[in-house]
């Protein structure tokens, strides 16, 4: 069976030895110890497993690891620079946009994709873009506020 030997994750190359049919999510979590991406539904309907694949938000639970070869994978662990949080992470803290936090990684990764290149979405666009992400604790209104706040921080295309 085909195996994946190397992945590009958060700016570094990682040696792996994984059946190409395994989900990207399981390889990130179990082989690389990057447990920030979560399993929520296994069918791409909750967004808890969202990572960026060449900058595009991707459901890692329904993505074969084989499909991630030679692509840049970015996970929640790759956002902060040392102690300096990403503006979206900061905004989530400032807006108190979480309860249990299990959806938070996926929410933040989706939001990072939305705000790419200094894009400033209005509320409607945020709701439309984020609608595939579930927060069962129901902090949606706060997450929308956090994304607006982050957009303000990222004006001019920073990060």
């Amino acid at each position: 069976m085909p195996t994946v030997k190397e992945l590009h994750v958060n700016g570094s190359k990682h040696a792996v030895d994984a059946d190409a049919d395994r989900s990207l999510l399981s390889v990130l979590r179990e082989d690389l110890g990057l447990t920030g991406s979560k399993y929520g539904c296994g069918e791409g309907r909750c967004g808890a497993c969202t990572v960026l694949l060449d900058g595009r938000p991707t459901r890692s639970c329904t993505t074969r690891v084989g499909a991630a070869v030679a692509k840049q994978v970015r996970t929640i662990e790759g956002l902060a620079r040392g102690d300096q949080l990403h503006p979206v992470q900061e905004a989530f803290l400032e807006a108190g946009a979480m309860q249990c936090g299990y959806c938070t990684s996926g929410m933040i990764m989706s939001a990072v994709a939305l705000l790419k290149d200094g894009h400033e979405p209005d509320r409607e666009e945020i709701v439309r873009f984020m609608d595939g992400n579930v927060c069962r604790c129901g902090t949606y209104a706060r997450i929308v506020s956090a994304i607006e706040r982050a957009a303000g921080k990222m004006k001019g295309g920073a990060r």
Binding site: R29, R45, L93
Partner: protein
């Protein structure tokens, strides 16, 4: 009491309220200091007076007998001055890690950042019955206040002695004990260094009144927020152990199915696969999830199923199949006056039947556990609201001594009342035993939807009488199966009868945020709305006319004021609704604005105002967060959440066919906190949900003239299915 083994699938409604505690945590000074090192320890000896306990159905074992003295919570100030607090409570997302830290900071007069909470670890924290029933704030927070206050007093004693000064000249502030003009000034660590001082206190230790709070009562940010936004927090499903395998369990073909035959030969032949077969339990453990999936798929099993009711027959079934379970709040027994007289005195009589469907909790982190054996000792990391209960369940099922089982519940990916049981813990433990290695088992979403338990479905019959002037004369209320929480009307009615009728539930059922208070408030407040319209009264005025309870009146008035009730007329196709109620010592009222288009069938809640009162508020922002979250969760159950089942199978066990509230469903949410610093703090995780469904239903009625008496009210929009 019937603490059932977790392998069984029967589960009485609201069973969690019924557990009695028994601690094996023994007082041993040397042991304490061996675990944590030197410093100052303060422990609270608990002897909960009966009147502080939630009412329980009569006849429970242990009820009425004094509990042994035991430790409720304890705190340690180390030799470096850092403070560690030990509590058996679990952080589920309700933000108690923060609010409990705040109350300790308040009494110890030290910064929040220097206090660390150890929670929900049966080897390190005192026994706790579980984190449910909105009990942490009213019961655990006062205990922690007391140990912190006593620790502060102990530090004052130490400082007076050390500085050889009058104790009364010293104050504690910002983590220091200081005298006039900061002379002397001691860091906590200077006072605790080299000490091994242990203080045992009772529940009468004085604490700071809410009016004088400076840290408690403020919006301290989530103390662990950073590890959540960086993905660093380790939920139970994130725990990894050396050599760990991944487990999968063979599930029956349907509920109540019996295993007739199983062939595991092909799975066993797969390299690196461990098959565990013990009675009806069949599972596998392998090095990756995919390998475990493939091994499971290679197992051939035959099951024998039995005929079972489906959702189509559900409500008829519940009424015709009486059961034996008891719900919290009892069966009734609170008759007053005579229904005959009350109905005779009425000008208008209304009778109606309400139904509520089974719904699922859908915690985003499904049940998960990592089990590791060391000889005959077992450690399990699992997301559960009852770590000590699960420890007992594991010991019982695996024939271990309780003290040889350690259950750790890391801050979890939510529960909403749905994680009182420890299925995954036991399954992982069995697999780990069989495989001889640590095993992680994470339930799939489909397993979580199928093999967990549901909020009880129910049927509620209401008969009421009212005079032309709006005075209630009669109120009769029968709840079948859904439960007894908030069964009684808070309104003044001279003739009333309430009764809870347990039934045989076709599906496994258990607790859910606010238990049956949601169903009972839905029926009651919908019916109250009908009565108001029957006598042509404003629904708010009608409620107030029949209501004496000042706290409930206050939230109804506060919600109405914020909403602008009675001021503006709704836009075309829109309707306004109001509802209120009380449960678990707190009070809530909600006002909803709904947009309803009868032609297209579209219905949307566009604005939801909630006023909430739970005594003295511990953390206003986190309280608002809970209220907003309850509003969103309440909208799901109100409008579209519903478990479909037939032939022993769940028909919609995935997020693609069980609809939960999403971003697009979010209305404008406004919350009004009625802060009563003169009253003890009550919990807030549950009650804010109870008025959502009736407020929305009343608004749909106002918009369309159509009364919807079944939850969910609009699974297919306003069109009938």
């Amino acid at each position: 009491m019937s603490e059932q083994s977790i392998g069984e699938f029967a589960c009485e409604p609201e069973r969690y309220e019924l557990y009695e505690g028994s601690s094996s945590w023994e007082l041993n000074r040397r042991e304490f200091f061996r675990i944590v090192g030197g410093g100052v320890i303060v422990a609270l000896l608990l002897r909960e007076p009966l009147d502080a306990q939630p009412a329980r159905p009569r006849g429970r074992r242990g009820f009425g007998a004094p509990m042994p003295r035991e430790i409720g919570a304890w705190l340690h100030i180390g030799e470096d001055g850092t403070t560690t607090v030990y509590t058996g409570k679990v952080e589920i997302g309700q933000n108690i890690r923060t609010s409990l830290t705040q109350v300790v900071a308040e009494e110890l007069r030290m910064p929040v950042a220097r206090i660390h909470l150890v929670m929900a670890d049966t080897a390190r924290t005192p026994f706790d019955m579980g984190t449910f029933g909105s009990g942490t704030t009213p019961r655990m927070a006062p205990q922690l206040r007391r140990v912190a206050a006593a620790a502060r007093e102990a530090l004052l004693d130490l400082a007076a002695k050390r500085g050889n000064v009058e104790r009364s000249s010293l104050t504690v502030a910002d983590g220091k004990v200081v005298g006039p003009r900061s002379k002397p000034s001691f860091d906590f660590g200077q006072l605790t260094k080299g000490k091994k001082l242990m203080k045992l206190i009772g529940e009468d230790t004085p604490t700071t009144p809410a009016g004088k709070w400076t840290v408690a009562g403020t919006s301290v940010p989530k103390v662990d927020g950073r590890v959540l936004v960086t993905g660093a927090h380790q939920y139970a499903s994130d725990v990894r152990r050396p050599g760990m395998l991944h487990g999968k369990v063979l599930r029956p073909s349907g509920f109540k199915a019996k295993l007739v035959s199983v062939n595991t030969r092909d799975a066993e032949a797969m390299p690196g696969v461990n098959v565990v077969h013990d009675g009806d339990f069949v599972g596998v453990a392998a090095s990756t999830e995919l390998a475990a999936d493939k091994a499971l798929a290679a197992i051939r099993a035959q099951w024998r199923t039995v005929a079972q009711p489906s959702d189509k027959d559900l409500f008829q079934y519940l009424k015709s199949h009486p059961g034996t379970a008891r719900g919290f709040g009892g069966r009734g027994g609170n008759d007053q006056g005579s229904m005959d007289e009350g109905l005779t005195a009425a000008d208008r009589k209304l009778q109606a039947t309400y139904t509520v469907a089974y719904i699922a909790h859908v915690p985003l982190e499904p049940r998960a556990a990592v089990a590791e054996w060391s000889g005959d000792k077992l450690t399990v990391w699992t997301g559960t609201q009852r770590p000590f209960g699960i420890r007992g369940d594991l010991a019982g099922a695996l024939k271990l001594r309780t003290e040889d089982v350690r259950v750790i519940a890391p801050d979890m990916g939510s529960g909403y009342g749905g994680k009182h049981t420890g299925e995954a813990a036991l399954e992982a433990a069995r697999l780990a035993k069989g495989a001889g290695k640590p095993v992680k088992l994470v339930w799939t979403r489909e397993e979580e939807f199928t093999w967990g338990y549901f909020r009880p479905a129910g049927v509620i019959d209401v008969t009421a009488g009212v005079k032309k002037d709006g005075t209630l004369t009669a109120w009769e209320f029968h709840n079948y199966n859904s439960g007894g929480s908030a069964l009684r009307t808070p309104y003044q009615v001279p003739n009333q009868h309430h009764e809870f009728h347990p039934a045989e539930s076709p599906l496994r059922q258990g607790s859910y945020r606010a238990l049956a208070a949601t169903a009972n408030h839905f029926a009651r407040e919908s019916h109250m709305d009908d009565l108001a319209h029957a006598v042509r009264m404003d629904p708010l005025a009608f409620r107030l006319k029949n209501l004496k309870d000042a706290r409930l009146r206050a939230v109804l008035e506060a919600a109405a004021k914020q909403f602008g009730w009675g001021k503006a007329k709704p836009a075309a196709g829109h309707g306004f609704g109001i509802a209120g109620g009380t449960e678990k010592g707190s009070y809530v009222a909600s006002c909803a604005e709904v947009a309803a288009d009868r032609k297209s069938g579209l219905v949307k809640v566009v604005r939801l105002v909630t006023a909430f009162e739970c005594g003295a508020v511990l953390n206003p922002d986190h309280l608002k967060n809970q209220i907003e979250g309850a509003a969103m969760m309440g909208l799901g159950g109100a409008l579209f959440e519903e478990i479909k089942f037939a032939g022993g199978k769940i028909l919609n066990p995935r997020l693609s066919n069980y609809r939960v509230p999403r971003f697009r469903d979010t209305p404008v949410l406004e919350t009004v906190l009625v802060n009563r610093k003169d009253l003890p703090s009550a919990g807030a995780g549950e009650t804010p949900i109870v008025a959502v469904a009736p407020a929305v239903g009343n608004a749909i009625f106002a918009a369309t003239g159509e009364r919807r008496r079944s939850l969910p009210m609009a699974p297919n929009g306003l069109k009938s299915s």
